[in-house]
Amino acid sequence: MAQMNIIQAVNSALHNMFERDETVVSFGEDAGFYGGVFRCTSGLQEKFGKHRSFDTPLAEGGIVGIAIGMGMNGLRPVAEIQFADYIFPGFDQITNELAKLRYRSGGEYSAPVTIRTPCGGGIKGGHYHSQSPEAYFTHTPGLKVVICSNPYDAKGLLISSIECNDPVIFFEPKRLYNGPFDGDHTAAMVKWDSHPKGEVPEEYYNIPLGKAEIVRAGKEVTILCYGTMVHVATAAAENSGIDAEVIDLRTLVPLDIDAIEDSVKKTGRCVIVHEAPRTSGFGAELMSQVQERCFWHLEAPIQRVTGWDTPYPHSLEWDYFPSQARITEAMRATMEE
């Protein structure tokens, strides 16, 4: 089996889908000839032609707008937004148009659009190259929201997202593109080469949306997380000696509620981790769900470890980015009660 990083896995998914389905097209700023600033779409234009993979004017509202139009008229567009921080000029098109088209037309119209976008911090990108805006979209009925944490999942989930007839916002944590990251920025860069999830088939496969994965089984406490935080939380579990069960949610909408419920009912303790700011973050929704469904099984209040309620900083990045230490502290807090 081939060894891939997330960039290559995304690229492989697109190549497979371009081959299988002539209605699949890909476009975005610098995403045609150059293959995207992170090179996720490289080789597509060369192989399939510039009508299948093309550059666009620098206008996210326009990019999402044409994706909707193409999608409602027989194509299956995969639009790239260069950084999740730059998705906001397209926000109206996504939340008011893309998300509501099916409902608004009584089911007559829909647009099977996938919007791929690199998200998250850990790359010294400051507040405009580090944000995690998933909660804006999970709060919008009509959108599915997916976030990958490794190459194998990236490919399988992206293929399912493209095949999905509902619009999908597909987040790619850019800190993970080239290797897993456990939050220790002083350690040497690790690559996907030797990671089991870096083994990715060249052929088509998919991973169903709406299914979480238990990435580390444990008995003492459940950690709910996604994206880069999957690796930080897993490392915190390993290094603290606490027998935590780490769940990679993978799809935020629709949520794998059974996986969450089963785990928390088993451990009786829950820690929620995300990079995005705390107030109205997706953690607030997770916390409500756990409280509503597992209240009588909880041994202690649920804990949240999140980014602070500040814009994402540049030089003080590591004081913002949720650390193993903070996750460990939160796990301990649930166990003291």
Binding site: D55, L58, G74, K124, G126, N206, T310, H314, L316
Partner: protein, 417 residues
């Protein structure tokens, strides 16, 4: 989850009719078909109270003052003194030396990121010299020249770029996202285009208060595809806001050629249907840049409304420290740009009029380099990117709001400060 299997929608001989433009050089031509055949001195100068639509020729033409013999010619010659010309040259040489040094430091890992303005030095120097310091400037990330002309300390600029304890934006932004209130230089935002209508609003505030200051703002030709560009033009036109709106057409937006930014030939021409006075300017010609800004600034100050300027120039180097232009524009090097280089051209003009020579030029370059090395050293006494000291952790929670609400105080407590 359905497995679609193979989907074919097109027959063997069906043709794709969707048009996707390609940069000329990628099909064996050149990226440089330009309006540069228009000779210097060709355009007449309308009065500053003309209707926007009367500037049509200027919007589709090219305003040039320096001719091929390095002389200043025509009605638009701003007749700058030799001292003013030398000051402009000095600013441009200093900016170039600064950019080179900073990019070199980035390559050594002493900056996290950097962006040069090679080839575009005249665009900001000519603009800043034509304005008053009280005029508010709302730049994009490639107008560092404004700071030099307005006299910002290089130590402070470098401190920002290495995010040390002397960084006035407290290490919150990536390098080159300067902010300098004292110089009426508005904090640069990375999301492109957003600040175009903001500059119009700032201009409206001057008009509201009855002041005769103006606002000037810049965005790239790539960015002109954003709605914000059109919002800015339309609002400026509707309210006759005292502002100068500039599109810097440096031909490229990262890897994307300008023919993907619009389907027309001139960016300046976008202003005409909004009835905004519009001029396309040779951005390598400091005198033309200065003259156009002077005209537009006087027009705005006198209450005759906004002007759109297209600076026709070339991005001489990579987009930033993160990309390699040889991949997407091989053979399309800056040395081939038909309108030349702004430093070379102004220098040649000064030599021609007997006010400059090679020896003085070399001495200036050496002096600028020394100044920057010294400034860099001094900046590092306030901390380095690698070892700090950085702005203190308390700054993480400051300036989110004017005062910190309870939840931020609580979170600050969790960090232990």
């Amino acid at each position: 989850m359905s497995d679609f299997g193979l989907v074919k929608i097109m027959g063997e001989d069906s043709e794709v009719n969707m048009h996707v433009p390609v940069p000329p050089h990628r099909e064996g031509g050149t990226s440089f078909p330009s309006p540069h055949e228009i000779p210097a001195g060709h355009h007449t100068k309308p009065s500053i109270d003309c209707a926007g639509e009367e500037t049509r020729d200027l919007a589709y033409g090219l305003l040039r003052v320096l001719n091929d013999d390095d002389e200043a010619v025509g009605e638009w010659d701003p007749k700058l003194s030799a001292d003013e010309l030398r000051a402009a040259l000095e600013h441009m040489v200093r900016i170039r030396a600064y950019d080179d040094r900073m990019m070199m430091m980035q390559r050594q890992g002493r900056l996290s990121f950097y962006m040069k303005c090679l080839g575009e030095e005249a665009v900001s120097v000519g603009a800043a010299m034509a304005m008053e310091n009280r005029d508010i400037v709302v730049p994009s990330y490639r107008q560092q020249g404004l700071l030099f002309v307005r006299g910002r300390s290089m130590v402070d600029m470098i401190s920002h770029c290495i995010t040390n304890s002397n960084d006035n934006v407290k290490g919150r932004q990536m390098p080159v996202h300067y902010s300098w209130k004292e110089g009426n230089f508005v904090s640069i935002s990375s999301p492109v285009g957003t600040q175009f209508p903001q500059a119009v609003g700032a201009a409206m505030a001057f008009a509201y208060r009855g002041e005769d200051s103006i606002a000037c703002t810049w965005l790239g030709e790539g960015t002109s595809a954003q709605g914000d560009f059109h919002y800015g033009l339309n609002f400026a036109s509707v309210y006759q806001a005292p502002c100068v709106l500039v599109v810097v057409n440096n031909q490229w937006a990262i890897s994307t050629h300008r023919n993907l930014a619009h389907g027309g030939s001139s960016f300046a021409a976008r202003g005409i249907p909004y009835n905004v006075a519009s001029i396309r300017v040779d951005g390598q010609d400091l005198l033309a840049v200065y003259a156009a800004h002077k005209w537009a600034t006087e027009r705005a100050r006198a209450g005759h409304g906004p002007t759109l300027l297209e600076m026709y120039t070339y991005r001489g180097d990579s987009h930033s420290s993160s990309d390699d232009p040889s991949i997407y524009r091989p053979g399309d090097g800056y040395e081939n740009w038909p309108l030349g280089d702004p430093v070379d051209r102004l220098k040649a003009h000064l030599v021609k009029i007997g006010e400059w020579d090679d020896a003085r030029h070399e001495a200036l370059q050496a002096q600028c380099k020394d100044e920057i090395i010294a400034a860099y050293k001094e900046a590092e006494t306030h901390g380095t990117l690698k070892d700090g000291p950085f702005p203190p952790v308390t700054t993480l929670f400051e300036d989110v709001y004017e005062d910190e609400p309870w939840h931020l105080l609580e979170q600050r407590g969790q960090v232990g400060i």
